[in-house]
């Protein structure tokens, strides 16, 4: 029978309905997949027990592809068809990449429109970075499905915090191509912070120091009310653990008076250098013994102190981006409440010491720095797949400003209040304002203020083809839906006829934090004025509607009135029209009430008339039955 996992209390799933979800760290150098099983986030290993899948794809021919270790090992055999570090090309055009001669690939000189993604010519045809990444993701998906014994409902995939829309979209496309349902893209530093459970802890500012194989990233995050916000990022895209290996390699060359080695010897020495680096994390010295292809024997002992000295300037090079990131966030070292270490190179004691000294605190290192991003992504995926109880739900993304639409009188009606967690959906019914109205303009706005003119306009669209009805009879259901990536779609549907219209908008697009802050401050500042303005607009709208209705009635059934009565009504209409010029809501309300009172008997007379009109021409027996 199937193997079962322990669920959270009350969260057992029906048979064959396991909500299997994974977190994927799609890295530049290595990729990992993790899941929450029996309540614990764990990285899933392959058959050989390896957690890390090198992000290398080799196209052998049109059908056969190697992914991971094998592709990496045989890279030198066929560099043009072996794609590594493809993440650097995700969502990028040729212009973004700059000097393409640095890479052994054949870039397609496309006449594609400006801004199109680069493509590489391989034996299997032209491949986009999306397709190459999809091969890595397919491999991880297969590993996950074999490990979990079922199909995945979805995955959370991590991306660098600095990835722009195009790079994020490319990552999503790659996942779709690999048959993965993307529950959400998650920023890598946020994933690391989640893995350490910082989201359950105290609010504050956290720094995430990520020194990977070939890249260095520093991110400053702020946690408030369970939501991580990326305040700033900085880094060095050409600094990583490999540079430390290279330092040892150079030292070996110098020590043994070697020059210009062949590719095989270079690889051999670099591998030895890497092993020595890893040994020096825990040992005072490392011995390096190698026999080169020419028969020379290298036998050196490298001390920890010597290694630290030769790599000191590499460590120092990470400090400048840290200072810049703090400055961009407008913070000082003492504002940082915690430091998270990510990336295998942060195992080096000299790196930990330098970071500790910089922030004047001990960085968090107890989770495996190679796995921490994937572990955090898995926790998030588990949550989004619905495997945790309601009370365990933590906010991750919220809507910064309320979303709503414009109603008569230029008022903003909020459908989704600010700070709602996403994804979310709300619907409300609206109606027509005038008799025979066949179209409705829907103006989507964002902001906290009561008047549309004080909010930010996001989009406008029209619902047409509403069947002609009396004012207020149509039922138009407007649905606001914000998906996990902050994409808003608004749909309007006339319930009687089923006519529909919709539009998609990205609400946060183009709004900086300071703009959001300003909009929020203003809403508090003008709260009272806004309330009065709203009350006035509501009365004005009602007044307009009433005047129009009374004038229509007078035109139709004016003959029902005696002269004096008619004059009184006309007078009240005039008074209400005059009051419309005023900005006093109470005055306006009084005028509305007066007009309403003045027309009571008129309304009665009209009612009688329409009843007798309805009765006219009816068979007498029908009337008897009814009475």
């Amino acid at each position: 029978m199937a193997l079962l996992q322990i669920s959270e209390p009350g969260m057992s799933t029906a048979p064959h309905q396991h909500r299997l979800a994974v977190g994927i760290d799609l890295g530049t150098t290595n990729s990992l997949v993790a899941t929450v099983r029996n309540g614990i986030s764990t990285v899933l290993n392959d058959e050989q027990g390896r957690a890390m899948l090198p992000s290398v794809v080799r196209y052998l021919d049109a059908q056969n592809i190697l992914v991971g270790e094998e592709a990496q090992r045989t890279q030198s055999e066929d560099p043009t068809n072996t794609i590594s570090s493809v993440k650097r090309f995700m969502g990028r055009g040729l212009a973004d990449i700059g000097d393409i001669s640095r890479f052994p690939y054949r870039f397609l000189d496309d006449s594609a429109p400006h801004g199109a993604q680069v493509r590489l010519r391989t034996v299997a045809g032209a491949k986009s970075p999306v397709e190459v990444s999809a091969e890595i993701l397919k491999m991880l998906r297969a590993r996950a499905e074999a490990s979990l014994g079922g199909e995945l409902v979805g995955a959370v995939i991590t991306v660098p915090a600095y990835f722009d829309d195009a790079q994020r979209q490319a990552t999503k496309d790659a996942a779709r191509l690999a048959g993965l349902n993307v529950l959400r893209l998650l920023n890598e530093p946020t994933a690391a912070a989640i893995a350490y459970g910082l989201d359950n802890g105290s609010e504050g500012v956290y720094a995430v120091y990520d020194l990977g194989g070939g890249t260095f990233d520093i991110s400053i995050l702020r946690l408030s009310r369970g939501v991580f916000e990326v305040l700033s990022t900085n880094g060095d895209s050409a600094l990583g653990g490999d540079d430390f290996d290279h330092r040892i390699y150079c030292w070996l060359l110098e020590k043994n008076a070697l020059s210009a080695l062949g590719p095989q010897d270079t690889r051999l020495l670099l591998t030895q250098a890497r092993t020595a680096k890893e040994q020096l994390t825990e040992h005072a010295e490392a011995r390096i013994t190698v026999m080169l292809s020419g028969g020379e024997i290298i036998d050196n002992v490298l001390s920890q102190a010597a290694f630290h000295e030769m790599s000191n300037n590499l460590v120092q090079r990470t400090l400048q981006p840290m200072r810049r990131a703090l400055r961009d966030a407008g913070l000082k070292v003492q504002d940082v409440n915690g430091v998270v270490m990510v990336g295998g190179a942060t195992r080096m004691p000299q790196v930990q010491r330098a970071v500790g000294e910089f922030f004047a605190q001990t960085p968090l290192t107890n989770l495996d720095p190679d796995k921490v991003v994937a572990l955090g992504a898995a926790i998030q995926a588990n949550l989004l797949a619905g495997n945790r109880g309601e009370d365990d739900w933590l906010l991750l993304d919220v809507i910064p400003l309320s979303l709503g639409l414009e109603t008569m009188g230029g008022l903003a009606e909020k459908l989704i209040p600010r700070n709602s967690t996403i994804p979310t959906a709300r619907a409300q019914e609206f109606t027509t304002y005038k008799d025979g109205q066949t179209a409705m303009s829907i103006h989507v706005v964002q902001g906290e203020r009561e008047l549309v003119s004080d909010c930010r306009s996001l989009a406008k669209f029209e619902l047409r083809g509403i069947p002609a009805m009396v004012a207020g009879a149509a039922r138009i259901r407007v649905t606001f839906q914000v998906d996990a990536d902050g994409l808003l779609s608004v749909a309007a549907r006339e319930m009687g006829s089923g006519v529909e219209a919709m539009i998609e908008v990205k609400p946060s697009y183009g709004l900086s934090d300071s703009e959001i802050t300003r909009m929020l401050q203003e809403s508090g500042q003008y709260a009272k004025e806004d309330m009065q303005a709203r009350a006035l607009r509501e009365q004005q709208t009602e007044a307009h509607q009433l005047i129009e209705a009374v004038q229509n009635a007078l035109a139709q059934d004016g003959d029902l009135l005696v002269k004096a009565e008619r004059e009184r009504i006309v007078e009240q209409v005039q008074m209400l029209q005059d009051s419309l010029q005023q900005t006093d809501a109470a005055l306006l309300k009084r005028a509305i009430t007066n007009l309403n009172d003045a027309t009571v008997s008129f309304a009665q007379a009209r009612m009688d008339k329409s009843v007798s009109r309805a009765l006219a021409g009816k068979n007498i027996s029908e009337l008897e039955v009814k009475s």
């Binding site: 029978m1 193997l3 996992q5 322990i6 669920s7 029906a14 290993n45 058959e47 014994g149």
Partner: protein, 107 residues
Amino acid sequence: MGITLTETAARHVQNFIAKRGKGVGLRIGVRTTGCSGMAYKLEFADVLGDDDLQFQSNGVTLLVDPKSLPYIDGMELDFQREGLNEGFKFNNPNVKNECGCGESFQV
């Protein structure tokens, strides 16, 4: 009779509860659902229910609601590895029929 855990299963459960940071034991039960009638329920337990029957096995507290017990009395829970997958296996002597994958069963 009651419910038991193999030593391997007990070790894993203890490990999971320790890493999870809370939990008084393991709740085992059945629900009427699934393609063959009944399905197993396997959850962490944070509180003891008033009606819960308790069994101790290899140092782990197992909680079973009285209504579920007849369907699983005498069952042994094992932890197994199958290829890359691993998890708990229910050896239930009461089962007469089960669906292809064994996730739901009849007694």
